[in-house]
């Protein structure tokens, strides 16, 4: 494939991605920080809905048509330490690498600094890649839960998708998403409503 074709496919994919990141409000710092404080669940809702859809798509593509998976290896220390550092950055940024660009598009100016810091962080890692990978000294195997369980991929994927769907239905019943977006659609709710969040949300849902 030529680089130009890749860029055109990437642009089309990214535009749809960015459009729905904005529409779902999941790119909002208020929603991302709210998720990390368990005051908002919109991030989890978008995230799990995307995982469920991906599970079903891959159950069909990989299970029925043999499309190759694109797995990352299991490297315990790197996954845990890298994940913790990344998570700390996500909370401080109120963004993840992808949503920081959505914030730039939607007008948040501090997101430009997140993107610049991100480029600097990626370059810093690049210079120390050899020593960091040598430090962790893990080979890592590409392993799925389906292999661990000894069942076909499609079966475990559909089963996991079903469990996550039940979880999301229950979550939405307890905390409807419309109550989480806020009047300025930035996930920032009135402070008094926030302090009494759990009971007031449930009452209004049952009313």
């Amino acid at each position: 494939m030529t680089v130009l074709t890749g860029i055109l496919i990437g642009l089309a994919t990214g535009i749809v991605f960015g459009f729905v990141l904005e529409k779902s409000r999941v790119f909002e710092p208020g929603i991302i920080v709210g998720q990390m404080q368990l005051r908002s669940f919109i991030m989890l809702k978008v995230f799990l809905a995307a995982v469920i859809t991906g599970l079903i798509a891959l159950a069909v593509m990989h299970g029925a048509f043999g499309v190759k998976l694109s797995l990352k290896p299991l490297v315990w220390q790197a996954d845990i330490i890298g994940g913790l550092v990344l998570g700390a950055g996500i909370a401080l940024a109120g963004a993840c690498p992808g949503t920081s660009l959505a914030q730039v598009g939607a007008g948040y100016r501090d997101a430009w600094f997140v993107v610049l810091g991100g480029i600097a962080g990626a370059v810093f890692y690049g210079y120390f890649d050899t020593s960091i990978t040598a430090f962790f000294a893990e080979k890592g195997a590409k392993v799925t839960f389906a292999e661990l369980a000894g069942y076909p991929f499609w079966m475990v994927a559909i089963g996991f998708a079903a469990v996550l769907t039940i979880f999301l239905v229950a979550l939405e019943r307890m905390i409807p998403w419309r109550q989480e977006v806020g009047t300025n659609v930035d996930g920032v709710l009135p402070q008094d409503a926030v302090t009494g969040s759990a009971p007031s949300r449930e009452t209004s849902h049952r009313a």
């Binding site: 990437g10 994940g83 913790l84």
Partner: protein, 172 residues
């Protein structure tokens, strides 16, 4: 029916559309959705402008050329364009700094946020590159492939995020 000029869509509809993007990505690009390695591609090209030694570092050179690397750069550029178009259609342009920061950290101005934002971005990509993926690559894509490593990384991400948001921020 949701309309293109709505300010907010159901998170479930948005999530399903993001999940469906895996189909063209796997079929056309032979890979999964991701975002963080594009920062290496752009960063490596910028670093190469001032440091000729970049050409000797395999991690950089492996991210600098080819359709897959530029595909992902185009994805993140597309994300900014898509969010811009959506914001224009609904007329919900965002201010310089989200109101949530006044509550969480007391920062109300761009000058107050900028240094933290830069540091946050640095940590984000340093962590993502150590773990080999971010919320997209490990999260949305890894978990959809039942990857054990990605699930470990996602658990660590949420643990790190919750730790910082609860230790250093006021309740939002």
């Amino acid at each position: 029916m949701p309309s293109l000029s709505d300010k907010a869509w159901s998170p479930y509809m948005a999530g399903v559309i993001i999940g469906l993007l895996q189909i063209p990505t796997f079929l056309l690009m032979d890979t999964a959705l991701g975002a963080s390695s594009s920062f290496v591609t752009v960063g490596a090209h910028l670093a190469a402008l001032v440091d000729p030694g970049v050409a000797q570092i395999k991690y950089f050179t492996s991210h600098m050329a080819g359709a897959k690397n530029w595909w992902q750069v185009a994805v993140v550029v597309g994300i900014a364009i898509g969010a811009f178009v959506s914001m224009k259609l609904s007329g919900s342009r965002r201010p310089a700094v989200s109101a949530v920061w006044a509550r969480a950290t007391g920062a109300t101005s761009l000058a107050g946020r900028a240094p933290i934002a830069f540091f946050a971005g640095f940590l984000m990509l340093l962590g993502a590159r150590i773990a080999g993926g971010c919320t997209s690559g490990h999260g949305i894509s890894g978990m959809a492939q039942l990857s054990v490593g990605s699930t470990v990384a996602v658990a660590a991400m949420f643990a790190g995020g919750m730790l910082v948001a609860n230790l250093f921020f006021k309740r939002v």
